[in-house]
Point group: D3
C-alpha cells in the first residue's frame, strides 16, 4: 500500500550545458521547468493526509525561489555543476528532503517514505529523480 501526493509549480532559468553531447544546448539558452513534487507514504496520518498540500506547495515554491529567474551558470552554489534536467530534479528533491527533515512539511519526515521530483522541460521531454526520505 502506497499513498502519493503531488503538487506542481514552475521555474524559468537560463543556463548552458558544457559537453559535446549537448550539441546546440552548449550555448546559453533557457527553459521553463514545470515541476511536480510527489511525496510518498505507506499510510496517511491522523488527518487522512500524506502531507498538507498547502505546506507542500509553499515548500516547493521556497525551493524554486532560489533558482527561478536566474542564470544558473552564475549561481554560486551550482559552480561546476552541469545543470541537466536530471541533475536539477535531484537538486530540488534533495532540498525538499532537507525541509521534510526540518519538519517544515508539518508531518515528521519519519512518516514519509520518499520524494519524487519531475521537471517537464517541454511538451515532449521530461526527467525525474526519486529518493528515500
Amino acid at each position: 500500500m502506497t499513498y502519493r501526493v503531488t503538487v506542481r509549480d514552475h521555474m524559468m532559468v537560463a543556463h548552458s550545458l558544457p559537453g559535446e553531447v549537448f550539441g546546440p544546448a552548449q550555448r546559453l539558452h533557457g527553459a521553463t521547468y514545470v515541476v511536480d513534487a510527489t511525496f510518498r507514504a505507506t499510510d496517511v496520518d491522523a488527518d487522512g493526509i500524506v502531507v498538507d498540500i498547502g505546506r507542500a506547495t509553499e515548500e516547493l515554491k521556497a525551493v524554486l525561489a532560489d533558482l527561478t529567474y536566474r542564470n544558473l551558470d552564475d549561481h554560486d552554489e551550482l559552480a561546476g555543476v552541469v545543470t541537466t534536467t536530471e541533475v536539477l530534479a535531484r537538486l530540488v528533491a534533495d532540498r525538499l528532503a532537507e525541509r521534510a527533515h526540518a519538519g517544515r512539511l508539518g508531518r515528521p519526515a519519519e512518516g514519509l517514505d520518499g520524494i519524487e521530483v519531475t521537471l517537464r522541460e517541454s511538451h515532449v521531454a521530461w526527467a525525474s529523480y526519486e529518493r528515500r526520505l
Copy 2:
C-alpha cells in the same frame, strides 16, 4: 515485466474537511476529481490485454456513480470519514478491487497484480493510492 492499463473518468462532489490543518477547506466547498484507475499485471491474457478497457471504464463509472453529484458529508457510508483526496483515492481503489474479485472486469482478479487510483483535484495538485489485488 509489468503491464499497466489506465482509464479516466471524473466525479463532482461537495464536502468539508474537519481539522485545523485544512484551513479554509474546513468550510463546505467542493471539487471535481478527475479519476485515473490503473490496473497492473505481470502478463497480458490470451487476448493480449491486461483488462478489457470497456469493462474497466464501466466499472470505474459504477464506482464513481455512488459518489458523484453528492455532498460527501451526508453520505451514509462515509460517516466519520475525513474525505481527503488520499482517502477518496483509497476508497475508489478498494471498491474497484472488490469488483475485480467479483469477476466484473472480465479477467479473474488472480491475473491482476494491483490497482492504482489517482484523483486530480486541480491542475496543480493530485493524490493516489496503490494496492495489491
Copy 3:
C-alpha cells in the same frame, strides 16, 4: 491584429443547480473550476505587453478568493443566482473588468479591448464568457 495574454488559477466550490434540466446536479455537489482569464488588446504598450502577467495573476487570484472554498448557495452576493459554469464565467469576467477599470492591472483599461474567462469543470466540459472592456 490582436494580442492576447492568459493566466490560469482555480477555485473549489460547492453549489446546487435548481431546475429540472440539471438532473443530478440539482443536489448539493461541487466542482473544481480551472479558470483561464484572457486579456485582449489591439496593440502592446511601451513595455511590449498586453498586461503585466504578474498583476493579472494577482487580480485573478483576488477575484477567485471571494468564491473559493465556499458553498455558493450561501454566498450573500449570489442569492437567487443559478451558478452554472457559464454564469460563473461571466461573474469572474465582470469582476476582472471592474478591476481593469479601477487601474489595478497596471495598464489603463482603455488600452484593453476585452476579457474572456474560461472555467474548466472537468477534462470533458468547460464554458467561457467573452466581453468588451
Copy 4:
C-alpha cells in the same frame, strides 16, 4: 465559415526583460515556449485541407530554429527589442506570414485568411498574436 489548422513545436531561449514592470524577470533567465501556429481559411483547397500539416510543421520548425538554444539578448536581429511573450508571438507569426507569401506552405497565401501564434511559457501563462495574411 472558418477552418483552422494548428501545429505545435517549441523553443528554449534565454533573455532578460528591461523595465521595472518585469520585476525579477529583468535578470537574465529563460523559458521554454511551446508554440502553436494556427492557419485560418474560409474554405479548404481541392485536397480538402487548409494547409499541408507536414509543411506547416516544417516551416514552423524553420522559424523557431533561428531562435531556439539562443540568448535572445545577443540576437543581432533583436537588438533593442523587448522580447516579451507577446512580442515573440508576433515575431513568429510575421515570419510565418512571410513564408506563406513566399509560397512555402504549398497553398498560395491568398487562400489563407490569417495566422495566430500562441506561446505557452508555463502551465499557468501564455500569450498569442493574431494577424491577417
Copy 5:
C-alpha cells in the same frame, strides 16, 4: 458578449488520404480524434445555460457513433470524400447543427449563434471548423 460551452469525446477511425500532398498518409492508416464541440450564444437561457452539457454530450456521442470504430474509406455516406481532419471537423459540426435545428439540444437552435468543432489528431496537430447556426 459571447458565451461558449464545450464538451469533449473521441472517435477512432481508419482511413487513407488520396493525393500526393499527403505523402505516407496516402496509405491506409488511422487516427484517434479527440473531438471538442463548442456551442456559442449571445446570451444564456432562463436556466443560465448555453446548452445542457448532458444533452450536448449525448448528441456529440450520437454523431461520433456513426464514425468511430470504422474504416472511413468504406463508409457509404463518405464515398468520394477526402476525410482530412478539416473535412471531418466540418462533417461533425454540420451533423450537430442538424440536431440543434431538430431541437435535440433542448434549447431551440434560434437561441444559439454557432458551433465550432475541433479534432485533435495528436499532441502536435489539430483542426477545427466553425459555422453559424
Copy 6:
C-alpha cells in the same frame, strides 16, 4: 535512487482486434498513439544525464517509423499478433531495448536499468509496458 528521462512522439495506425472481447474494435478502425518512452537508471553518467534526450528522441522516431501510417493487419512482422495497446507498448519497448543494447542511445545499455513505454490512445485510456534492460 532512481533517475528517469522521458521523450514523447506519436504514430497513426489502422488495425482490427480479433476476439469477442473487443466488441466494435473487431472492425478495421484506427488510432493515434501518443508514445512516451522512459529510460531509467540508478545514476546519471559523467555528463549528468540518463540518456541524451536528442538521441532518445531519434531512436524512438526510428522505432515508430516502421509502424506509423500503416495498417498493422498487413504488417509482415505482426502476422498473427493481436495489436492491443498493451502489446504495441511492449513491441516499442523491446525494439528500444535492442537499440539500447546496440549502443545507439550513446550510453552503454549496462548503465541503464529499464525502459517503460506508454501508449495513449485517447484522452481517457492508455497502456504501458515496463521492462529491464
